[in-house]
């Protein structure tokens, strides 16, 4: 039932009481951790949307100088895409009860996620070598800030990934680990989409 129709309910009415008494108390069919992740993604989206708004607002000032675009960023984007695909593979395999493929997908996802973070640090080094520091120009300041925040989110994801990988490695059944694998995959897809948005912003400005 949609939120709007629920808001129109008359909880004091006897006919409504008969319906309400059957309610199981949950709003969504998803388990609480899945709902929690989606709420968190909403908050993270609000955060990055605000950064993007500020970015666009700040770039209209005359001192804005576009940054060079290191080719390594394209490589990193591919790595993150593959990382996300790996976790998707793990998720699908968990649904099909293929334990070996779950492990493979999980490791591909995690290791490539880590590789992406290392790749981003290399991009930082390249830019610093070219003389683009955080204080050089607002464009470079934004680049460091946005990539750092995206990276911090990914590192947070890697902690969750490590816990999940440990559970899978220690032989817990797929029934018990499937939820965590799904959480990792959904989060990685979000980070991939977020990175594509941020990368596009950096490319086109």
């Amino acid at each position: 039932m949609s939120l709007f129709s629920q808001l129109a309910e008359r909880p004091w009415a006897p006919e409504q009481a008969a319906i309400d008494d059957q309610h199981d108390g949950g709003e969504f069919t998803l388990p609480a951790p899945q709902v929690g992740l989606r709420v968190f993604l909403g908050v993270a989206s609000a955060l990055f949307t605000l950064f993007i708004v500020v970015y666009v607002e700040r770039m209209v000032f005359s001192d804005w100088q576009p940054l060079p675009e290191p080719w390594l960023l394209w490589v990193n984007t591919l790595i993150l895409f593959a990382s996300s695909a790996g976790l998707q593979w793990a998720w699908v395999s968990a649904d099909k009860n293929k334990a070996d493929d779950v492990k493979k997908g999980l490791y591909v996802g995690g290791v490539l996620g880590f590789a992406f973070v290392v790749g981003q640090l290399l991009v930082w080094q390249q830019l610093a070598n070219l003389g683009y520091y955080a204080s050089s120009n607002p464009a470079s300041a934004f680049f460091y800030l946005l990539t750092a925040l995206h990276g911090v989110h990914l590192l947070g994801g890697l902690i969750a990934w490590a816990r999940t990988a440990y559970k899978v490695q220690s032989g817990l059944s797929l029934a018990k680990t499937r939820g965590s694998i799904e959480l990792c995959a959904v989060y990685w897809h979000f980070l991939l989409i977020l990175w594509i948005v941020l990368f596009s912003l950096l490319l086109f400005t």
């Binding site: 939120l3 629920q6 808001l7 129109a8 309910e9 008359r10 909880p11 004091w12 009415a13 006897p14 006919e15 009481a17 008969a18 309400d20 008494d21 059957q22 309610h23 199981d24 108390g25 949950g26 709003e27 969504f28 388990p31 609480a32 951790p33 709902v35 929690g36 709420v39 968190f40 909403g42 908050v43 609000a46 955060l47 605000l50 950064f51 500020v54 607002e57 700040r58 000032f61 005359s62 001192d63 804005w64 955080a134 204080s135 607002p138 300041a141 800030l145």
Partner: protein
């Protein structure tokens, strides 16, 4: 109509974490009730620091040049820290971290929050944020004196008190506060959405939960704006970036900054700052609705409209922020838009006030302490709200901006009003939390001194504002357009402030003595219908509801139900036990 029994519960019992040691039971606890007490204790403790700071400010304003230990820079630091502490570290933390943690699981019929470990982390990160804030008092140059709005460029430039370590620690503390709050906020939202008892539909939830829930959603969306602004300001300070810093000369020297936009920070700050008003107000609205209903023995008038108004106010609160910036300079159409939205938000707000009054109409009003505070809130909120309508209009705001009128307005509406609700809520739920009643006489003295005192402080302050007395001034000196009698009024306000501040000792005395030796509270002493009073034990034990989770059969406002055994019917009372057939069919008039 024949009663149809609900199907067997499909919701699995939550696997509760059971503490095994003193440390995990009372210190690193994952029980929302313990976390609530921890949040509340820290919030009240830091709030007392804020109270002392305000008294120091009032001493300076009432009796200038009498206190040699208060320098102008100290005064600015007192203002800044008082504002930030009260708004963020006291009110937000107490309403959401304190009342939210205690009441959400109990009122929706859950054993605990859905993510207890994350909930525990939320408190410890909040505590860390508070410690960092306190640390800023002890660094070289002291805490920041930039004003609670922390506007650049002055917030981070030399010459502003606390522009060294003070501002850095303030911003770092805010970043931690927001991270900690987000962890708690996820819990509050998901517990309300997914953790309710069988039969507890959204529209059967008490308005307290609706208020806390809506405020949490607001906070989850608004705090990121402060996070963005705070983090970028921190980088401007530490790494000399120029997100907000324009080309600027400081003390005769050209700084390395250039090109940034200070107004951009203002937009970010107030995009957070205005919803923040409602992050504090909405839980207060919800709580006061329940206090009025319980203590007037009457269902809340217009429950659905009350819910709609909460949600509506929450939504509109995101499109009024720039009314704080009329004097920053803006396109007149922009000002017109924000003035209009500001006036529009008064509609659902006024609707709530009417409904509170109509709930009282023909109610069996009991002048208990919680009811006194609730009534005090309604009057105060109307007063503070009406001056808000003045200030929402550009033409009236411009001359009144930066005067004591603004200070009086926001203290009435988001200082005194929510505090009255907090006191009312503590008097109301103390028996549940401790199993004992607070002393009634002490409570009444506390109420009247606080309520009347608040009016003696803030009503004259409006008048000072009309006279043109500016806010933020260390002292007036000789100012031709302000009569000398304004100083007498300032001295009067200061004396009352000290008395009202001292009267709070009564409250704490009452709290601590009653905890040990207060009259033992009977079960559900206020005869409330909501779930938190229907627990197996009072105070509720670990897991809240004993062996079986409650099943909900009605809303939380079944008072004066014809044919019922008592004048209230608990939410979880089986229809067969209510009394005469059909007695559970409480109807809204």
């Amino acid at each position: 109509m024949a009663y149809v029994a609900p199907a067997e519960a499909e919701v699995e019992e939550v696997e509760l974490y059971h503490a095994k040691s003193f440390l995990t039971k009372y210190v690193f606890s994952q029980d929302a009730k313990v976390i609530a007490i921890q949040y509340s204790s820290v919030a009240i403790a830091i709030g007392l620091v804020g109270l002392v700071l305000s008294s120091l400010m009032r001493l300076q304003l009432g009796f200038p040049e009498s206190f040699s230990f208060i320098e102008p820079s100290d005064y600015y630091q007192f203002i800044t820290m008082h504002g930030m502490i009260m708004v963020v570290y006291l009110l937000t933390a107490l309403f959401l971290g304190g009342f939210g943690n205690y009441l959400i699981p109990l009122m929706v019929g859950a054993r605990d929050m859905v993510f207890p470990y994350v909930n525990m982390m939320s408190f410890w990160i909040y505590l860390l944020a508070v410690m960092i804030l306190i640390a800023s008092f002890f660094v070289e140059g002291g805490p920041t004196g930039a004003g609670w709005t922390l506007y650049p460029p002055q917030a981070i430039l030399e010459g502003t008190p606390g522009s060294g370590g003070g501002i850095i620690l303030m911003l770092v503390s805010l970043v931690f506060f927001i991270i900690g709050f987000t962890m708690g906020g996820l819990n509050y939202v998901v517990t309300v959405l997914q953790g309710r008892a069988r039969g507890m539909t959204l529209m059967r939830m008490p308005l307290t939960i609706w208020g806390i829930f809506t405020a949490t959603v607001l906070a989850l969306l608004a705090f990121p704006a402060l996070f963005v602004g705070g983090l970028m300001l921190l980088l401007d300070k530490v790494l000399q970036t120029s997100f907000f810093m324009p080309t600027i000369l400081s003390l005769g020297e050209q700084l390395e900054y250039g090109g940034g936009s200070p107004i951009l920070f203002q937009h970010l700050f107030w995009f957070f700052g205005h919803p923040e008003v409602y992050i504090v107000a909405l839980p207060a609205f919800g709580i006061v609705s329940d206090l009025i209903s319980v203590h007037a023995r009457r269902h809340i008038f217009g429950y659905r409209m009350m819910v709609w108004a909460l949600v509506g106010i929450g939504g509109i609160s995101f499109i009024v922020w720039a009314h704080h910036m009329y004097v920053s300079g803006m396109n007149p159409w922009f000002g017109f838009f924000f003035a209009t939205t500001t006036l529009i938000i008064a509609i659902p707000t006024a609707l709530k006030v009417y409904n509170w009054v109509l709930t009282l109409w023909k109610g069996n009003i009991r002048f208990t302490i919680p009811m006194l505070f609730a009534l005090g809130f309604i009057v105060t909120f109307v007063n503070g709200g009406i001056t808000g309508l003045f200030l929402g209009n550009v033409a009236i705001d411009v001359p009144l901006s930066d005067t004591m009128f603004v200070v009086a307005h926001f203290h009435m509406v988001m200082g005194v009003s929510p505090l009255l609700v907090i006191f009312g809520a503590i008097y109301h739920w103390f028996p549940l939390m401790s199993g004992r009643m607070l002393n009634d006489t002490l409570g009444k003295v506390h109420f009247w001194v606080t309520f009347l005192g608040a009016y003696l402080i803030f009503l004259p302050m409006h008048y000072l504002g009309f006279l043109g007395v500016p806010r933020r001034y260390f002292e007036m000196g000789e100012t031709n357009f302000i009569p000398a009698s304004a100083q007498d009024l300032n001295a009067f306000i200061t004396i009352v402030t000290v008395i009202v501040g001292a009267a709070q000792v009564l409250f704490f005395y009452n709290l601590f003595t009653s905890m040990k030796s207060g009259e033992v509270a009977e079960k559900n002493p206020w005869k409330a219908a909501s779930l938190e009073w229907q627990t197996a034990e009072q105070p509720p034990g670990h897991g809240n509801f004993g062996a079986e989770l409650p099943v909900v059969y009605r809303w939380a406002y079944a008072y004066g139900v014809p044919g019922a055994k008592d004048d209230f019917v608990p939410q979880n009372m089986h229809p067969d036990e209510v009394g005469e057939p059909g007695a559970h069919e409480a109807s809204e008039e």
